[in-house]
C-alpha cells in the first residue's frame, strides 16, 4: 500500500514536471513573438536615421563577435551544468553554472559598454526611430539576460543551501532552456542587427 502511494506520488510529480516543461515552452513561444515584433520594427525603422551615422560606422564588429562567442560559450557551460545535475553532482553544477553566470555578466557588461559609448557620442534612443528600434531590440534582450542572471543567481544560492533536490533540478532545466533560447535570439540579433549592417 505504502509503495503504491509512493508510486502515485512519483507519477504525480512526473506529470507536474511534464506539464510545467510544456507550459514553459509555450511561454518561450510568446516571448519569441514579442521579439518578432521588435525585429519587425527594427527592420521597418532601421533606415530612418535622420542624419546619425550608418550602423556599420557605429558598430564594432569585434565587440559584437566577442559578445556572441561569450554567450555561445555560456550556453555550452550551462549544458555541462545540466549534465552534472543529471548525475546529481552538486559541486559541478555550482561550478558550471557559476561560470555560466560570470559569462552572462561579462556579456551584459560588454553590451552596456557599447550602449554607453553610443550615448556618450550623442546617439541615444531619442535621436531617431532607427536608434529607438536598435536600443529597444538589443536592450530587451539584455533585460532578458539580466532576469536570467537573477534567476540563475538565486537558483545557485538555493542549491548551495538546500542541495540538488528535484524541484531545484526542474528549475535548472527550465532555466537552461531559457538560456539557450536567449542564445538563439542573440544569434538572430547578431545576424540581423550587426552582420547585416556590414553587408
Amino acid at each position: 500500500m505504502a509503495t503504491e502511494q509512493g508510486h502515485v506520488a512519483e507519477s504525480h510529480e512526473a506529470q507536474a514536471n511534464d506539464r510545467i516543461g510544456f507550459g514553459f515552452w509555450v511561454y518561450l513561444m510568446t516571448d519569441l513573438l514579442m521579439f518578432a515584433v521588435l525585429f519587425a520594427t527594427f527592420a521597418v525603422l532601421r533606415s530612418n536615421t535622420f542624419g546619425t551615422p550608418e550602423y556599420h560606422e557605429l558598430f564594432s564588429l569585434p565587440l559584437a563577435l566577442a559578445e556572441t562567442l561569450i554567450l555561445l560559450t555560456s550556453s555550452f557551460t550551462a549544458g555541462l551544468g545540466m549534465l552534472a545535475a543529471g548525475r546529481g553532482d552538486k559541486v559541478q553544477v555550482l561550478t558550471w553554472f557559476g561560470i555560466t553566470f560570470l559569462l552572462g555578466l561579462t556579456f551584459l557588461g560588454l553590451e552596456l559598454k557599447e550602449f554607453s559609448e553610443f550615448i556618450h557620442e550623442g546617439y541615444t534612443w531619442r535621436s531617431n526611430a532607427s536608434l529607438s528600434a536598435f536600443f529597444t531590440l538589443v536592450g530587451t534582450h539584455g533585460l532578458h539576460i539580466t532576469s536570467g542572471l537573477l534567476w540563475m543567481g538565486t537558483a545557485l544560492v538555493f542549491i548551495w543551501k538546500r542541495g540538488l533536490n528535484a524541484p531545484l533540478v526542474r528549475k535548472l532545466t527550465l532555466l537552461s532552456l531559457f538560456w539557450h533560447f536567449l542564445d538563439v535570439v542573440w544569434v538572430f540579433i547578431f545576424t540581423i542587427v550587426y552582420l547585416m549592417a556590414f553587408a
Partner: protein, 697 residues
C-alpha cells in the same frame, strides 16, 4: 524633492470636475460600504482564506464574474452617457459633455467592455467549466491562475484610477491609435493609464492562456482524446491558443508606445522617422484576433446548449471543431481590413478582403452544425436556448454587415462610420455577450447550487432584444446617412437627431434588461430552496461537469472515470451512472497570496510609471522579483486528502445527490416580476414598520 517623491503628481491631479468628483465619491462610497459590511459581519479572515487567496479555479471563476459584472454596469453607464450626449448635442446645443470628456468616455467604454467585461466573463467561464468538463482536479499551474486574476484586478483598478488621480483617461478611441496617442497630441496621463491598465491585465491574460493550454492538453481524464473533448473546451482551447499568439504582440506594442511616451523614443511619432502606420498594423494584428478570442468560447457555449436543450448529440462534431480551428487560423491574417482606407493599394486590400471573406465560411459551418443538431431533437426553450436564438438573429445581421465591410470599395464608404460601430456591436454583443449570458444561465445551477428564475430571465432577454433593435437599427441607418463615429456634436441640418434619440431609448430599454437580470438573480436567491439543484444535473446534461454535485467539491470529481465516448456523462447515464471505483488520495494545491502581492507591486510600478515616480517604480519591480523568488523557490505547495477523507466528504455529499430528483419543473412556479415587487415592497414596508415600532418605544 517634491518631484522625487511624487513625480508629476500634484494637487492639480486631485478630482476637481463633476465627473471625477462623482466617480471618486462613488468608488469611495462603494468601497466603504463593502469594507463596512465585511467588518460588521466579521468576514475578513473568511474572505482572505476562502476566496482572495484561493487557487480553486471555481472560486476564481466566480470572482471574475463578480468583478466583470460590476465593470459591465460601469461600461453600460458609459454607453448611456455617450448616447445621451449624442441625443442632445445637435445644432446650437452642445450637450452636457465637453468634446474631450466625451472622447474619454467612449475610450473607457471600449476598453472596459472588451478587456474588463467580455474577457473577464470568458475567463470566468473557462475557469469554472473547463476543468470540470475535462475531468481535471485543478489547473496545470494554480498559481499562474490566481496571478492572472489579480493582474486583471490591478488593471481594473488602473482603468478607474483616473477618477481619483489625474482626472483624465485616454481620449483616443479604444486602441489609442498613434500618433494621436503620442505625447505630441496627448500630453496628459490619460494614455498612460490606458497603457498600463491594458498592459497589466494583458500580461495576466497571456499567463492565463498558457495555463489553460497546459491544462487542456495535459490534464484531461484518461481516455478523453481530443476528438472526445466537449465543444466548450474546444472553443476555449482555440481561443487560448490565439491569445498566446497575439497577446505578446499587444504587450510589445504597448511597450513601444510607452517607450515613446516615457523615454522619448520615436516608434510612432510624427517626427524623426517614427512610423504611425506600424502602430496601426501591430495593434490590429492583436485587435482583430482578440474579437475571436472572445467569440470562440462563446461558440462553444452555444454548441453545448444547443446539444443539451435539443436532447441530442452534437451533429457534425468534427466539422464544428474544424470550423472553430478555421476561424482561429484565418483570424490571424485579416488585420489589414481595419484600415483599407489607409491607402495600401488594390492588391493588398483585395487580398485581405478575400481572407476576411474566408472566415465567413467556417462561421457558417458552425451555424449549419447547430441546425443539424436541432433537427429531430426535442427542443426546450429554456432561457439559455432563447439567448442562443437571439444570438443567431443578431449575429447574422452583424456577420452580413461584416462581409460587406470586407469588400474594400464598400469599406471606403462604411469605414469609421456608425455602420461599422453598429457592425462590431452586433458581433460582440450578439456573439460574445449573449454567449456569456447563455452560459451563465446554463451553468448557474452548477455554480450556485440552484438554477436561475426562468420567467424574469425571459423578460430580461426580451428587453435586451427589443432594446438592441431600437438602438442598433438606427445606428446602421445613421452610418448609411454618412454619420461618422465618435461625434460629440453634429449640425441640425443633418437630420440625425431623431435616430440618436431612438438609440438612447433603445439603450435605456437595454438597461432595464440589465436591471431585470439583477432582479433575476435576486429573485432566484429568494426562491433558492425551490430552485435547488439536488441532482447536479438539472438540464439532463451530456458533459462531465454535470456528473458532480452542484456546487462541486474542491476536487471536482472524487473518482475520475475512464472516458470512452463524446458526451461522456450522457453515455454513463445510459449505462446506469458513473462507474464505481475505489477512492484514492487526492493532491490539491494550497492557497497562496503570492498572486495578490505580485499584482499589488505590479500595480504600484505601473502607477509609478504613469506619474514618473522613479523610487516607486524601483519598489514595485523589486517587490515583484522578491515575491516571484519567494514563490518559485517554495516547494510546499500541495496538500493531500487521504482516501478516507475523500470517502467521508463524498458520503456526505452523496446524501444530497441521491435524494429524489425534482419532477417536471414547471416554469409557472418561478416567481414573476409582480410577485418580486410585492415581496420587496412588503419587506421595505416591514423595515419602516420596525423602525416605527422602535420609535414608539
Amino acid at each position: 524633492m517634491k518631484e522625487f517623491l511624487l513625480g508629476k503628481l500634484d494637487a492639480h491631479a486631485l478630482p476637481h470636475e463633476w465627473f471625477t468628483i462623482g466617480g471618486t465619491a462613488a468608488f469611495i462610497l462603494g468601497a466603504a460600504l463593502i469594507i463596512g459590511l465585511i467588518t460588521w459581519k466579521k468576514r475578513w479572515t473568511w474572505l482572505w482564506k476562502e476566496w482572495l487567496t484561493s487557487v480553486d479555479p471555481k472560486k476564481i471563476g466566480i470572482m471574475y464574474f463578480i468583478v466583470a459584472g460590476f465593470m459591465l454596469l460601469r461600461g453600460g453607464l458609459d454607453a448611456i452617457m455617450i448616447w445621451l450626449q449624442q441625443a442632445l448635442s445637435s445644432g446650437d446645443s452642445y450637450g452636457y459633455l465637453s468634446a474631450d470628456h466625451f472622447q474619454q468616455i467612449f475610450t473607457a467604454h471600449g476598453n472596459i467592455m472588451v478587456f474588463f467585461v467580455a474577457m473577464a466573463f470568458i475567463f470566468g467561464l473557462i475557469n469554472y467549466i473547463v476543468p470540470l468538463q475535462i475531468g481535471a482536479r485543478d489547473l496545470a499551474s494554480p498559481f499562474l491562475n490566481t496571478l492572472g486574476f489579480w493582474l486583471y484586478v490591478a488593471g481594473v483598478v488602473m482603468v478607474n484610477m483616473f477618477f481619483a488621480l489625474g482626472g483624465e483617461y485616454a481620449a483616443t478611441g479604444w486602441l489609442a491609435i498613434a500618433p494621436l496617442s503620442g505625447t505630441q497630441f496627448s500630453p496628459g496621463v490619460g494614455v498612460d493609464y490606458w497603457i498600463w491598465s491594458l498592459q497589466v491585465s494583458g500580461i495576466g491574460t497571456t499567463l492565463g492562456a498558457i495555463n489553460f493550454i497546459m491544462t487542456i492538453l495535459k490534464m484531461r481524464a484518461p481516455g478523453m482524446t481530443l476528438w472526445k473533448m466537449p465543444l466548450f473546451t474546444w472553443g476555449s482551447l482555440c481561443s487560448m491558443i490565439m491569445a498566446v499568439t497575439v497577446f505578446p504582440l499587444l504587450t510589445a506594442t504597448l511597450f513601444l508606445l510607452f517607450f515613446d511616451r516615457y523615454l522619448g523614443m520615436h516608434f510612432f511619432t510624427t517626427d524623426l522617422g517614427g512610423n504611425a502606420m506600424m502602430y496601426t498594423n501591430l495593434i490590429w494584428m492583436w485587435g482583430h484576433p482578440e474579437v475571436y478570442i472572445l467569440m470562440l468560447p462563446a461558440f462553444g457555449v452555444f454548441s453545448e446548449i444547443v446539444s443539451t436543450f435539443s436532447r441530442k448529440r452534437m451533429a457534425y462534431y468534427k466539422s464544428n471543431i474544424l470550423g472553430m480551428l478555421g476561424v482561429s487560423a484565418f483570424a490571424l491574417s485579416v488585420w489589414l481590413h481595419h484600415f483599407f482606407t489607409m491607402g495600401a493599394g488594390a492588391n493588398v486590400n483585395a487580398f485581405f478582403g478575400v481572407m476576411t471573406m474566408i472566415i465567413a465560411i467556417p462561421t457558417s459551418v458552425l451555424v449549419f452544425t447547430w441546425i443539424a443538431t436541432m433537427y429531430k431533437g426535442r427542443i426546450r426553450f429554456g432561457v439559455p436556448m432563447l439567448w442562443f436564438l437571439g444570438f443567431i438573429g443578431v449575429f447574422s445581421v452583424g456577420g452580413l454587415a461584416g462581409v460587406l465591410l470586407a469588400v474594400p470599395p464598400a469599406d471606403f464608404q462604411l469605414h469609421n462610420s456608425l455602420f461599422l460601430v453598429a457592425h462590431f456591436h452586433t458581433m460582440v454583443i450578439g456573439g460574445v455577450l449573449f454567449g456569456i449570458f447563455a452560459g451563465i444561465n446554463y451553468w448557474f445551477p452548477k455554480i450556485a447550487g440552484f438554477r436561475l428564475n426562468e420567467r424574469i430571465g425571459r423578460y430580461a432577454f426580451w428587453c435586451w432584444i427589443v432594446g438592441f433593435m431600437m438602438s442598433f437599427i438606427p445606428m446602421y441607418t445613421l452610418g448609411i446617412m454618412g454619420a461618422t463615429r465618435r461625434l460629440d456634436h453634429y449640425d441640425a441640418s443633418t437630420g440625425w437627431q431623431p435616430f440618436y434619440v431612438l438609440m438612447l431609448i433603445g439603450g435605456i430599454i437595454i438597461m432595464i434588461g440589465v436591471a431585470l437580470q439583477l432582479v433575476q438573480i435576486i429573485a432566484s436567491i429568494m426562491q433558492k430552496q425551490r430552485l435547488r439543484d439536488t441532482t447536479g444535473d438539472p438540464w439532463d446534461g451530456r458533459t462531465l461537469e454535470w456528473a458532480t454535485s452542484s456546487p462541486p467539491p474542491p476536487y471536482n470529481l472524487a473518482v475520475i472515470p475512464e472516458i470512452t465516448s463524446r458526451d461522456a456523462f450522457f453515455e454513463f447515464k445510459q449505462r446506469g451512472g458513473l462507474p464505481r471505483a475505489k477512492y484514492e488520495a487526492i493532491h490539491m494545491p494550497k492557497n497562496t497570496a503570492a498572486g495578490i502581492y505580485i499584482s499589488a507591486f505590479a500595480f504600484l510600478a505601473s502607477f509609478a510609471f504613469v506619474w514618473h515616480i522613479t523610487w516607486l517604480i524601483v519598489v514595485g519591480i523589486v517587490g515583484i522579483i522578491v515575491c516571484f523568488i519567494a514563490r518559485t523557490f517554495n516547494d510546499d505547495l500541495e496538500y493531500t486528502l487521504s482516501a478516507a477523507e475523500v470517502e467521508k466528504i463524498e458520503k456526505n455529499r452523496l446524501k444530497d445527490v441521491r435524494s429524489e430528483p425534482r419532477q417536471g419543473r414547471d416554469d409557472d412556479e418561478d416567481m414573476g416580476l409582480w410577485e418580486f415587487i410585492k415581496i420587496v415592497v412588503t419587506w421595505a414596508l416591514g423595515l419602516i414598520g420596525i423602525r416605527r415600532r422602535s420609535h414608539g418605544n
